[in-house]
Symmetry: C2
Subunit: 134 residues, 2 copies
Amino acid sequence: MVTKTEYTIQQVAEITGLSGHTLRYYERIGLLSSVVRAANGHRRYTDDTIREIEFLNKLRATGMPIREMQHYAELRRQGQSTLAERQAMLKSHHAVVTEQLRLLQEYLKVIEYKIALYQKLQEEQQHESTSVGS
Amino acid sequence: MVTKTEYTIQQVAEITGLSGHTLRYYERIGLLSSVVRAANGHRRYTDDTIREIEFLNKLRATGMPIREMQHYAELRRQGQSTLAERQAMLKSHHAVVTEQLRLLQEYLKVIEYKIALYQKLQEEQQHESTSVGS
DNA sequence: CTACAACTTTGAGCGCACTCTAAGTCAAGG
DNA sequence: CCTTGACTTAGAGTGCGCTCAAAGTTGTAG
């Protein structure tokens, strides 16, 4: 006998870090396909859906706009005929994130420089007050 | 004779990539100190201010909230007595960005994995249609 | 039987960071 | 003189991504 593990919205919220509100919102706008219902109308999530959500979370965390994710989800719903297009989307997003990463690293260096500068200024300040004090 | 180069809001907009609207907004909310005025009331920006704006842009691009930048600008206005606190802010922000960078890299790898997976699926699809066709 | 908790829906509200509008001032050119 | 255009202000509006509220249903425990 095959027992599929199913999860309530609460459980999925805890697992994925999204709120119940957000999970319903994602479903409403078409980001999540096929969330089945229990007899009482409550949502029952499967492991598959959880994996789907976790991938969506990674797209979001890397800055993909909701609009684009909706398009991606729509393609997924259309089946394997859209594999190439989905791959192209991911490649394009990959390029964007890579550039974003490059910039972040560059700016991080500027911040490091500034921290070092503040260090120097503080030491000079220290030195002055010491020589005045003596 | 010392001739300080000054810039109009238009010029600063072009240089910094911010719109004139945003430059005025930043000043209003206290991000920019000491923007002097020409006789007719128009803003005149100095090289110093431009450098200030460009640093603010890097803080924004690395995800620092406006609120925090306001605090930073406020400390700057209070003079060198706040050097240590400003340095602490930058250090804390540095840590946040570093973690963000780590996550981005991790998620980028997941995206790469998915791109490769889609590649494989497409090749399998290709193969099937070929064998059916023959 | 009743209370309660967990869910459901639709639609409104919110925080952030801008972005734009309206009405007015001013200097230069025709 | 009059238009044009770049600027000024205060305040309203926008888009994004949630987040919450209200009203209703269902299942379980006392």
